[in-house]
Amino acid sequence: MSNPSNLKYTASHEWIKSEADGTLTIGITEHAQELLGDMVFVEAPAVGRKIKAREEVAVVESVKAAADVYAPVSGEVVAANSELDGAPEKINSDPYGAWIFKIKPDNSADVDTLLDAAAYQAVVDSEAH
């Protein structure tokens, strides 16, 4: 699975989709789910929570480890994906469809500073051993 080119990325393996209404949808990448293995729990943030860029916002817990999911930009949490409560494995089977939370960014231009697909692939390649 290659990194979809219509998304933005962070070096901490989040993907970000800009929605038509200005909100951002966030999940974790194929690379991240592959590293973590079978997901068993997702701790999504509370709706309404104000978050700062690079703050820990959610936790995904796999059989192997727990991993923090970070806010890519500052903003407010407007939705959390409740489907993941009963089916966290969707993150493994459909990482780009199984979004974790949505935010309304404080500044709509912030998303432009994030990595594009090629730049994110460079991050992944540099991790490979």
């Binding site: 592959e34 293995g37 079978d38 068993v40 729990f41 817990e61 059989v63 727990a66 494995e89 493994n92």
Partner: protein, 392 residues
């Protein structure tokens, strides 16, 4: 550092395995979803590459007596050929050198299977012990001319020669052997499908019994809490055997599922649940330590002199989350620590083994420190699951 490889390394990779460093071995952690692999074993069957474990043959006239002294469990429980026994091997100070299984095949041949990470240490220890003079057993009558004519057991299990030359036995690391574990309710029938010539010799094997079928040594033992066989065979044949099992519908299972299966079954993992600093009595292994008889064994005196103050219990996490090794456990009787923890696919909850003060009781609620939070867990009996089903 180059990792060690089993003969199945290329096959695992070809089957899509994600490989990891497991104690210096390049091993498959999963072939996709470890949770799927776990359910596969509980509901049907799967196969594990356990070639990294070590088969050791102890042969000679003194072997039974030697094992009686070497091991915490009593080799004299093995009263008919093929019978197997799980035991700890202890240091004189009482700590666990390894846990292992011995198979009594004949009075002059016991087979021993030890863990991969401790194999060299175990064999060096066994050889060292075997080469030393035997000390007279307590209550052993003095050996005189008339006594020399009696059988070893009548003389307390020791030959006159022992006192001069040490134990009469050889200890051989069977580096020529590979091992595959096939586990699950359908495991044995799949093995018989692939090697039908072994069926007659193995179809009446009970749990913890083995048969030597020439090319195949087959034991009804395992590390999953399910039925199945562990098959030892020449290394040169293991790739073909693996493929034949796979073609018969047996799926490959990685170390990730191996760990969740054994934890649900309440089976210890050496290096996590116990090590050389831990008494078997504080590792849930009291049932494997035979202190009832007059038999002396290495570590016995230390165990008798040091009654345990801690014990191993099962924990079931009540809150959402995953219990993991080394997390601190807070009880009304003091602190403890998780030795092994994971998510239980059968129970769909997190479970763990934890070493806690011995006053803690089944049914108590304890708090576990997990990533800056205190989560509640219940102290439960284990095993947590067996024969396909959760027990809680």
């Amino acid at each position: 550092m180059t990792l060690k490889q089993t003969p199945l390394n290329a096959v695992h990779r070809a089957m899509g395995a994600k490989m990891v460093d497991f104690g210096g071995w390049d091993m498959p952690v999963n072939y996709g979803s470890q949770i799927d692999e776990h359910h596969q074993v509980r509901n049907d069957c799967g196969m594990f590459d356990v070639c990294h474990m070590r088969v050791v043959d102890a042969k000679g006239e003194g072997v039974r007596a030697f094992l009686r002294y070497l091991l915490a469990n009593n080799a004299d429980k093995l009263t008919f050929p093929g019978k197997a026994l799980y035991s700890a091997m202890l240091r004189p100070e009482g700590g666990v050198i390894d846990d292992l299984i011995i198979y009594f095949m004949s009075e002059q041949w016991f087979r021993i299977v030890v863990n991969a990470g401790t194999a060299d240490k175990d064999i060096a220890w066994m050889k060292q012990q075997a080469s030393q003079h035997a000390n007279p057993l307590p209550n052993t009558p003095p050996v005189g001319e008339g006594m020399a004519a009696l059988s070893p057991s009548a003389r307390g299990g020791r030959y006159v020669e022992d006192l001069e030359k040490g134990w009469q036995l050889t200890i051989t690391s069977r580096d020529d052997l590979a091992m595959v574990a096939v586990q699950g309710p359908n495991a044995r029938s799949k093995v018989w499908q692939v090697i039908p010539q072994t069926k007659a010799a193995t179809e009446n094997l009970q749990n913890f019994q083995a048969a030597d079928c020439g090319e195949y040594f087959i034991a009804r033992t395992g590390y999953t809490g399910e039925d199945g066989f562990e098959v030892m065979l020449p290394k040169k044949n293991v790739v073909a055997f693996w493929h034949e099992l796979n073609q018969a519908g047996v799926k490959p299972i990685g170390l990730g599922a191996r760990d969740t299966l054994r934890l649900e079954a309440g089976m210890n993992l050496y290096g996590q649940d116990m090590d050389e600093t831990i008494s078997p009595l504080e590792a849930g292994m009291a049932w494997t330590v035979d202190l009832k008889s007059e038999r002396d064994f290495i570590g016995k005196a230390a165990l008798l002199a040091n009654p345990p103050t801690r014990k191993l219990v099962g924990l079931l996490l009540l809150d959402r989350g995953v219990l993991r090794g080394h997390q601190k456990v807070h009880t009304t009787h003091g602190e403890g620590e998780i030795t092994s923890g994971s998510f239980s696919p059968t129970l769909e909850k997190s479970i763990a083994l934890a070493r806690v003060p011995k006053e803690v009781e089944i049914g108590d609620t304890v708090q576990v420190s997990i990533r800056d939070k205190m989560l509640a867990a219940k102290v439960v009996k284990y095993p947590f699951a067996r024969n396909g089903k959760g027990l809680l």
